[in-house]
Subunit: 330 residues, 2 copies
């Protein structure tokens, strides 16, 4: 599988290697005649520039690395799609790796990207401690999504969790609910803020929050629902950490012969495609996933261009009321 190199093209086309390089990089300095000749030969022998060599020589990759917490979560894949589209516009490509929700996997995933020397990295809800994120930022332009931090070393984009939690609590209280449970997201990648915001909102309104562990996925939604519904005084509403988790809650309720919103109201978070689809459509909090991805790429491009002051963006949440919430049963 020895692949053709620039030299092969140059020789066969009877020109110098430098000229081939210019052609491949669309330089305007080369004559139409040469350009055509070179392209023809390149095409004929199936030449494809070696990115490693290109990167080594130029110090650039035209590539942005994405580390995503959980590829099974539409929130992240939508973010990736938005990022890919934005990158495309800047003639950049996006390379994805994931830690599959494990600390060690995530380290490796980031390590891989840093080793590749992508021009920048976008970290989607990293689980790693802020210190490590700063180390990453020291190596390459970095934007972190989904983790609250005020580090001057990297940019962040976050949802206003406090406000989101308030919207949900107010909505549910308005429907007459007072025993409201929250199935937490994880305790490492920004789930903590959502949980704390919920607690605070509840407390402020004189209600006791019911909390149960989770990990932002279906299975923990299912388990969490099972746990809280087994309480002596089960909640009349469940606020799941995200839509994925809410799906799990609905699955459990269905299995247990309970209905939403008849018996229990359910709220998700993110407004991913999961929320709209399915027999019971989810009341949830909208997050502009794709747009977040695009904004993150913009921020990275600016950093590549030399910006150094950190920017910490906070997005306003918006409650989307669908059919999974209703009046509290009397």
């Amino acid at each position: 599988m020895a692949q053709p190199t620039m030299d092969d093209v140059a020789t066969k086309a009877g020109v110098s290697r430098a000229l081939v390089s210019l052609v491949m990089n669309r330089s305007p300095r080369v004559s139409d005649h040469s350009r055509e000749k070179v392209l023809a030969v390149a095409n004929e022998i199936g030449y494809r520039p070696n990115m490693a060599a290109r990167n080594l020589a130029s110090g650039q990759t035209q590539t942005i690395g994405l580390m995503l917490n959980d590829l099974h979560n539409p929130y992240f894949t939508l973010m990736a799609e938005g990022a890919a589209a934005a990158a495309e516009e800047a003639e950049m490509r996006v390379l994805i790796s994931s830690g599959w929700k494990q600390d060690s996997g995530e380290s490796q995933a980031i390590e891989l990207l840093l080793g590749l020397r992508t021009d920048a990295v976008l970290l989607g809800s990293p689980r790693l401690p802020e210190l490590l994120l700063e180390q990453c930022a020291a190596q390459t332009p970095t934007v972190v999504v989904g983790v609250w931090a005020t580090s001057p070393a990297f940019d962040t984009i976050n949802n206003d969790e406090d406000h989101g939690a308030e919207l949900i609590v107010d909505h549910l209280m308005g429907l007459g609910h007072s025993r409201i449970a929250h199935i937490e997201g994880n305790r490492v990648a920004g789930g903590l803020e959502r949980r704390d915001s919920f607690s605070k909102s509840m407390m402020n309104r004189g209600l006791a929050p019911i909390l149960v562990e989770g990990d932002f996925d279906e299975i923990s939604g299912y388990e969490g629902a099972k746990t809280v519904m087994a309480l002596k005084e089960p909640p009349t509403a469940i606020f799941a950490g995200n839509d994925l988790s809410a799906s799990g809650v609905l699955a459990y309720l269905d299995e247990a012969g309970l209905s939403a919103p008849g018996d229990v109201s359910v709220v998700g978070y993110d407004d991913t495609v999961l929320a709209g689809v399915g027999a019971v459509s989810l009341t949830t909090v909208f997050q502009p996933c794709k747009q977040i991805g695009g904004t993150a790429i913009q921020a990275l491009l600016e950093r590549i261009d030399g910006r150094t002051e950190a920017r910490h963006e906070v997005l306003e949440p918006r409650l989307i009321v669908r059919s999974s919430t209703g009046p509290a049963p009397s």
Copy 2:
């Protein structure tokens, strides 16, 4: 952001560059004393090997590229997870790119991977014609999942579509259905086989297949259901191209005031997490997504090790009956 190089480490540790290289590659030929010294320095100055240089010099990347048709489809992300796990065992990393369901995007995605000179590539339901897949295979070891082909240039892994369609048709006929519609997957990435198998199965049993276009996603499931339910004689059962599409079907039915399986039975394909979750759990055909990913990586590793004969694997489908199918209404 000038990053430290091997030379920096070598100088600071008072050794040669080659020795640092040996240490970084865990060679047993270096003394404990030197190893420790080098590692200490590397760690101190935050040295990280440059993959581009490493790749250029060694001709290896220890990396396998994954091109995935649609990151929003759990089928692919599960496959990726399985692949990542298998790669991990072989001390390899996995790099993902997607064409986001567009031909041009897919070309770019594959081009990116080939340019990077990953040691091999795994193509998840590529939309591109077989000719292009062969070109890819000519450059690097290639395994294609989800596309029927008998090319001697690459390996394939596929579901036995004929059998899968038969299982579904028999199941539905057994429940008394005769007007059965199929919402097609796409017409480029292997959706054709599923559609043809369905048609054939129906015909063989003396039934006329009802077909409607689709693209393996929620929206086309929704639209497809809308289309067929508007027929003079609407079907009593819908076989969606995959689970994603089936979700869309369920969403439409719900919106139209119809219920599954009371009014219409619905069948999916893939048995992704979508099938089990949700108020109406899906009858579907099981595919061992993760395992497919793992098998694909195995095949690639063998090819990297020198195997050249192509292997075309066919997996046996298994029908999973859940609550979205029931007797045909009388």
